[in-house]
């Protein structure tokens, strides 16, 4: 996955607002995967993630004339995808609840033992999942999507300072977990 510069996004935004279909093609080609992965983190399901991103692109084209050139197109699309994903989760709450109940009924389901290959990575995965929701989102957007704190603020619609607070809290929690884990390993050895 290659990263796309902010200049490239603003160029696309300008061309989109002039109804340049080629710009839509290029934007789609370069960013589709990234946004599907982002949507997947909410839905945990490929086909709904693809649908969500598809619909965001459709919406983007429909409102192309109203795009604000001073706003980052990159974070704007992230925000659309996020909102669509949350709507999807809301509308399918019934369904996912049932899935949760099924998993609850079977105590062994959904719990994976840390693998021998890379125990630290497996633990880390669990620690990230256990973070408060907002901290987890900030961590993932930063670490996996490579967004700056300002871009994350734009996506989650919170102040950049709040992003910093969430991220520092997340990193400190993860670090504490890591140090406990190392201590335990030492004691065993």
């Amino acid at each position: 996955m290659e990263s796309v510069s902010e200049q490239q996004f603003s160029e696309w935004a300008a061309r989109l607002s002039r109804s340049d279909e080629k710009a839509l093609d290029e934007l789609f080609d370069k960013t589709f995967e990234v946004y599907v992965k982002f949507a997947w983190r909410f839905t945990k399901d490929k086909s709904s993630a693809v649908d969500i991103v598809q619909n965001s692109f459709i919406k983007l084209w429909q409102i192309r004339a109203d795009l604000d050139p001073s706003q980052s197109l990159k974070t704007y699309i992230y925000r659309m995808v996020k909102n669509n994903a949350l709507n999807y989760l809301r509308d399918n709450r019934q369904h996912s609840l049932q899935v949760d109940e099924l998993q609850l009924a079977d105590p062994d389901a959904g719990i994976s033992e840390p693998s021998e290959e890379n125990p630290l990575a497996e633990h880390l995965k669990k620690w990230v999942e256990d973070l408060p929701k907002r901290q987890q989102q900030v961590f993932e957007l930063s670490r996996y999507d490579g967004l700056t704190h300002e871009e994350i603020a734009g996506v989650l619609q919170i102040a950049p300072r709040t992003v910093n607070n969430h991220m520092v809290a997340a990193l400190n929690t993860l670090k504490d977990n890591y140090e406990n884990y190392r201590q335990r390993r030492k004691n065993i050895a």
Partner: protein
Amino acid sequence: MNKKNNISEILSYWLKKIDPKDRSAVKKLWDEAEDIDETDELTITKEDKASALAHIKNELNLTQVDETQTEDRDATIFTLNWRWVATAATILLAAGISYLFIPIREVAPYGQQKTVYLSDDTRVLLNSGSSVSYNRLYGVINRSTTLEGEAFFEVQSGEVPFTVETFNAEIHVLGTKFNVRSWGTEPGSETTVTLTEGKLAFQSLTAPGSAIILNPGEQSSLSLNQSVPTEPDNTSLENTLSWMENRFMFENRPLYQIIPELERRFNISIDVRADRIMNDSLTIYYSNQVKAEEIIKDICLSQGVTYRAMNNGFVIENR
């Protein structure tokens, strides 16, 4: 700027905000995290991408630029013969005809109403959460529509009969005004037709031939287990049409119909955890200024239950 640089730039930004003695541990975790992104298991193939793009283009009525096809055409353009032309024409014709029968669907989202004008100036006002579908030949060889939910139709006079199909019924008219309420998803679901002007025929989908004729001011219903609609009955037009002015007038209506209507009209979710009340019927009137909470409060008061607000809606439960 590639992603690796970007990520290490971001890390250095965060490290500055971390206590110096903890930085090496955070750096280690940051590097380790590279391996745990679960989305790496998610593979998006070329085909996924192509079909998503095709869907987007189709939805927006944009032309798809398919480079491989352009090349093929350049290579074969001088070897065209009439057999291929005929085959292509047949395929195009078939594609064109099936395109004509792909229905167009208009939806009023929850919390909103929507007015749809069809090609003959027939007006359809959709209640919240309702949809009407018709094909591209509407007004040419048919005037067929399909309704899910509730709508008020003002049908322009014309020689081609206008029809509304619901999950269980069919309505035939020439030029009239009428309301159809048909929530196939509700318990005890039925289609109710109320005529304000003109004349119409109302019959079951499964047993046509036993149509009921309605005159202005009359109402008739057809439930799922009936094959003949009820005898026409004079009804309060004001009550039936109150939704069009955003008012709430329910006369002796069961809560299992009222609750979903409130959900659609206010775009909220109402979780009833006191099932026993759902079969009770209520008569309530509200102006268009009413808030959802006010109605819910009154319902709870009358039923001896209680409610609380939650994210995006309300929970109704026993005291």
